[in-house]
Subunit: 364 residues, 2 copies
Amino acid sequence: MRKIGKQEIEDIAVGAALLGTGGGGDPYIGKLMALQAIEEYGPVTVLDLDEVPDDALVVPSSMMGAPTVMLEKIPSGEEAIEAFQKLEEHLGKKIYATFPIEAGGVNSMLPFALAARLGLPVIDADGMGRAFPELQMVTFYLDGISATPAVIADEKGNTALLSTIDNVWTERIARAATIQMGGSVMNAMYSMTGKNLKESGISNILRLEEEIGKTIRLAKANNVNAIQEVLKTVGGFELFQGKVTDINRKTESGFARGIATFEGLNEYRDETLQLRFQNEHLLAQTDKRLLCVTPDLIAVLDAETGLPITTEGIRYGSRCVIIGIPCHPKWRTEKGIETVGPKYFGYDVDYTPVEELVNQEVTK
Amino acid sequence: MRKIGKQEIEDIAVGAALLGTGGGGDPYIGKLMALQAIEEYGPVTVLDLDEVPDDALVVPSSMMGAPTVMLEKIPSGEEAIEAFQKLEEHLGKKIYATFPIEAGGVNSMLPFALAARLGLPVIDADGMGRAFPELQMVTFYLDGISATPAVIADEKGNTALLSTIDNVWTERIARAATIQMGGSVMNAMYSMTGKNLKESGISNILRLEEEIGKTIRLAKANNVNAIQEVLKTVGGFELFQGKVTDINRKTESGFARGIATFEGLNEYRDETLQLRFQNEHLLAQTDKRLLCVTPDLIAVLDAETGLPITTEGIRYGSRCVIIGIPCHPKWRTEKGIETVGPKYFGYDVDYTPVEELVNQEVTK
């Protein structure tokens, strides 16, 4: 058990945005929401997974919708409370603690904002170890945990309580409703027991995020290269250095979809990188080689500061370093690849672990 | 209080399809569903509105979606039961009786199918006195009765319980969910008290439907013109006689939308009628004159049998008589016209009562 104050929030927001691989929302907005709540209600208690009772009711707090919309429609916090209260009412049981569903600038911060207001602890675990665009893309789904009963709530006061035959149906119906409800909503879904979370969650994700954020923050003072230090912290690989020459994004079917093109710099100057995304970065390839593909993580970092850039933050002319990070082993199982691998997103490539792709390059 | 058996069902289905003005579902399917349930569970009790206790919980049973989809996806009846049970569970109160939300081949029959299975009575009242395509288009809306809590249920076992700030939001969110759920769902919404229904409902609608159906059925045996007899029964007007020369329909945004063109026959042979619909017929005009416009009723009848034809049943070459019927006075109020008048549907004409349009013609 530990207390999370403002500095920790700042660091977690940055680390979460990096693991959010371009999605999961803007870290600046997420940070403001959490900081404001902590300012008003005091620091939040974080529990390690093994501190949670097996029979406790735990529910992640998250947002769904296109990150492009979240930028324009900042949630007040009331929606999240309403979603939690409707779910508690339906289940007839108090929620013991919340936790992030995924890593991401907003989705890692929302549990803190909600926990501060409701006086709940936050558990140091999530359901992805990164971010993904669809509701069923959580380790809980791989383990057969139902997303429903699921409450979605908008800022106007509309709510929907869904009960579906599987989590893919939750995604379909909730996504369609979300588009009508203004493009983003707050969720209370994937309610589970402490035991479920211990078995299916990805633990110590907040510690890792905080460590990443701290590494980037202190790099200048410590006179080290922020990106190289981050690669050590996360066990990742540098994939490319480039300058943004084209960015093509649209918000469709409730997602921010597109392709960013990077012209190579330094030792990559003969190559052009194409980065494909659907809320999150999903595939990085040059004309010559595949560099990294979902479910492995692809993060775009500012070449100078090492700070992560979200898909909506990619700007023409920005100089970036693109890094790859091996995903959690749960995603490398057959059901994992089926659920979030390249084929699911319509890319005609087989999944190959990023460490193998990187080694192929070296031996070439 | 009276009992409704098979013959009454046959007649009500036909009369409801006529008042359904092309929408509300196919009378053949609706009839089969109701007849099957009555066959299995026995006749259904119909209550007059004044027989319902003021404090009774009453809930209409209906379907939403494109009638074109209903033709391909006949509900099993389980969805309706599930929707009612979820709503009862949420409200913590037993439903006393059901009733139709609108007139229509399917939507007037569903309450009978459900009532037979659940052993509930059906109340002789509805919320339109005709059919309309959107959820908020009920007399209850004019009187400020909320559509939510609203349950929608599909045949796969998915349900959504909506709570919205107004009935237009219910329509938006439920429509989007319906499209995902296969294009049609069963509803349990607009729960109200007996007193609400007495104040806001349109009473004796089942009696009128039965009378229409009986008139058409017996016309041949009675050696009378079915259509002329129906016009007397409903207080309507013959608008046109024509042959279908073009029918342009598509299912979009969850609705069956389109235009049917009729080449005039007999005294109308110099004119061509265009009939515009969105699930229901909404506007009938020739190149020379406006004949009838929503919220007044426009029904297309088979020239020979007098049987009503739904929008999806309009076939090239069919010989039809198009009739107009004054709508219930509740629709002719300012809020009524705003909610269901021609402007709402995007037609740039002012609402003029059908009896005035008909008289204009006569004086011409």
